[in-house]
Amino acid sequence: MTRRPEVGALIGTLGVFVFFAIFGGAEFLSSAGAASWLNVAAELGIIAVPVGLLMIAGELDLSVGSVLAASSMTLAIVSGHWGGPMILGILLALTIGVATGLVNGLIVTRTNVPSFVVTLATLAALAGLTLGLSRVITGTTSVGLKPDPTSKALFGTLISGQFEVAILWWIAVAGCVAWMLQETRYGNWIFAVGGDKESARATGIPTNKVKIALYVGSGFGAALVGVIQTILYNGAQVANGQSFVFNSIIAVVIGGVLLTGGYGSVIGVILGTLTFAIVNQGIYYTGWNSDWASLILGILLLVAVLMNNTFRRLALSSGPRSQRKA
């Protein structure tokens, strides 16, 4: 049991839930309260799951913040400002994510520049590009959009007035990725690439292709959230999305993924995302001054990492002596 990477994360999630259930009162436990953290978790999770996969493979992606902004502005400009069909705007928005992922992946695999630097560069460059093009095309930095009912239903409805349809997208994305990581050979490749790239390559795994595919995945996830937010809030803002850059990494790390790669699980990332969202939103149910929210988050991150390290050490020493002698 202690062998699983998500044990620490599960304890974390349960811990913060109980904490805020006690201090947040009935409102926190109500369906509106649950919607609060589930909605935030869903959007973050759609990005954190593929980012987590990438981190298991030993790479970072900081560009997700700008991808989100670029995708939402693309959708708003194409389908809002220019009045094009929604489906075209959505497809182009998602294409932006895929293309950015492709660029990230190619640069990281071709140049050996650390992915932290590469994706920091694309984060800045894409932010500038989005801002510049938005201003040139629309003369403004926020563009409205009137989504058609189908798109609204698919991406931007509130189920029973509370729960974002993004929750279903999150479940779908997490389900597919979890299956892929745990149950297919590609998952094994990802662990191997993150564990030891050279050994992985020596066994014939196309390590570069694996990484590029994972970058495309995280770009797609960020672009999907861009589409969801744009349709949900009927418009896009150039400066949106930047908070997802570090929030996604925090969620992944709380979820027990090793920052240096080779270890982690999708369930862990889901739990990490829930923990993050519960803390981030739970504070407003306590009635405490929200100035302290970041402090709690920082402490939580540290505790989570220490706990994950402990559980990983346990997993590495889990050859019972008696068994070894047998």
Partner: protein, 362 residues
């Protein structure tokens, strides 16, 4: 140091929903200013002469000693394009009297203080009879303003600086708005509508101008109610869902809240969604600083109480009219600051505001 100040000035200049988060998040990457700079450069840096020159060359030779220089932001900046509309309209009077008005704007905002100082000196060297400028970066610009006023050419501050800065540089007046006052007016409007407990959602806690806005609200409502601030941490920046859910949670937790005010229009959109999700539309009234089409539509639809406009058109129009009247006839209004805002847009005047927005002046 200087950069920080520019940031503050720019933020004060135009507290748009975009500039705020961008400033907060991208400042270190040097992108802070590009949030205001990356527009097309077609008109930036050029000195376009507004007024008589091309259409009525005769007029300028007939009367024409008056030459007013206006130093503003990039004219393709949506805020500044409204200021420039006011300048252009006022310039018609100048032009009819044989004078001319010249608009000078920086190419970009990367080096705003020194660039603006250079533009001030350019205006002086081109024989300006009056110089209108925004005091964004006093450290860099004040000397230039002083050299103009010392040489006997009247200086008028507008948009940024305030009455005290006007005194310092020897300017005759300041035309613009005041964040604290804008907040007070908003607070009083809430009070007038019977709102008792206002939540001021601050997505940029700690910034001078946003704190002033919330403080103003608190002062304005203090007679009959109170206002508390909801400071949202940086982990929520640029994420409307996180902001929406935070506001919703606060509403659910505290059922005595019956008013919400936000510091930017995007936050107002989030607050609107939060009120809906908390099922609190019947008790909670929404107001915001700044204005855009969405706010106007909500006010018209009755789901938002008001938004506060600093009326940039009036800044350009009044500053030029004042400079012209002073140049031509020696007239000077006693008010300094001459306030162009706050204007509270509510159900009673939203139709005019909508018409104004359509015309590109608001």
């Amino acid at each position: 140091m200087e950069r920080k100040q520019i940031r503050r000035r720019l933020a004060r200049r135009r507290l748009s929903s975009v500039t705020l988060p961008a400033l907060a998040l991208l400042a270190s990457a040097g992108l802070a200013l590009s949030a205001c700079t990356s527009g097309a450069t077609s008109n930036g840096g050029s000195s376009g002469t507004t007024g008589a020159a091309p259409s009525a060359p005769g007029a300028s030779t007939a009367g024409g000693t008056i030459s007013i220089f206006v130093i503003g932001g990039k004219s393709d900046d949506p805020f500044w394009s409204k200021v420039k509309r006011g300048v252009d309209d006022a310039a018609k009077v100048v032009q009819a009297n044989g004078g001319k008005v010249t608009w000078l704007g920086p190419q970009n905002y990367d080096n705003l203080g020194p660039d603006a100082a250079k533009l001030i000196l350019t205006a002086k060297s081109q024989g300006a009879t009056a110089v209108i400028g925004a005091d964004w970066v006093p450290d860099a610009q004040d000397e230039a303003f002083k050299s103009v006023s010392d040489s006997g050419v009247p200086v008028f501050l507008y948009n940024s600086g305030g009455a005290d800065a006007a005194k310092t540089v020897g300017a005759l007046t300041y035309t613009g708005s005041d964040e604290l006052l804008a907040g007070k007016v908003g607070g009083q409007f809430f009070a007038q509508k019977g709102v008792k407990n206002v939540l001021c959602v601050n997505t940029l806690p700690g910034a001078v101008n946003t704190e002033a806005r919330c403080e103003g609200i608190s002062q304005g409502i203090s007679v009959s109610g109170k206002s508390t601030q909801l400071p949202l941490p940086s982990s929520s920046f640029g994420n409307p869902t996180a902001i929406t859910q935070a506001i919703k949670a606060t509403l659910l937790k505290d059922s005595s809240i019956d008013g919400i005010v936000t510091i930017s229009t995007q936050d107002a959109d989030s607050a609107s969604a939060a009120i809906e999700q908390a099922d609190a539309a019947s008790r909670v009234k929404l107001g915001t600083f700044d204005m855009d089409d969405t706010q106007l539509e909500r006010i018209k639809a009755g789901t938002q109480l008001f938004c506060i406009d600093q009326q940039p058109y009036m800044q350009g129009y009044l500053a030029v009219s004042q400079a012209f009247a002073y140049n031509a006839y020696g007239l000077l209004l006693p008010q300094s600051p001459l306030l162009t805002g706050p204007a509270v847009i509510n159900a009673g005047n939203v139709d005019q505001a909508l018409a104004g927005a359509k015309a590109g002046v608001r």
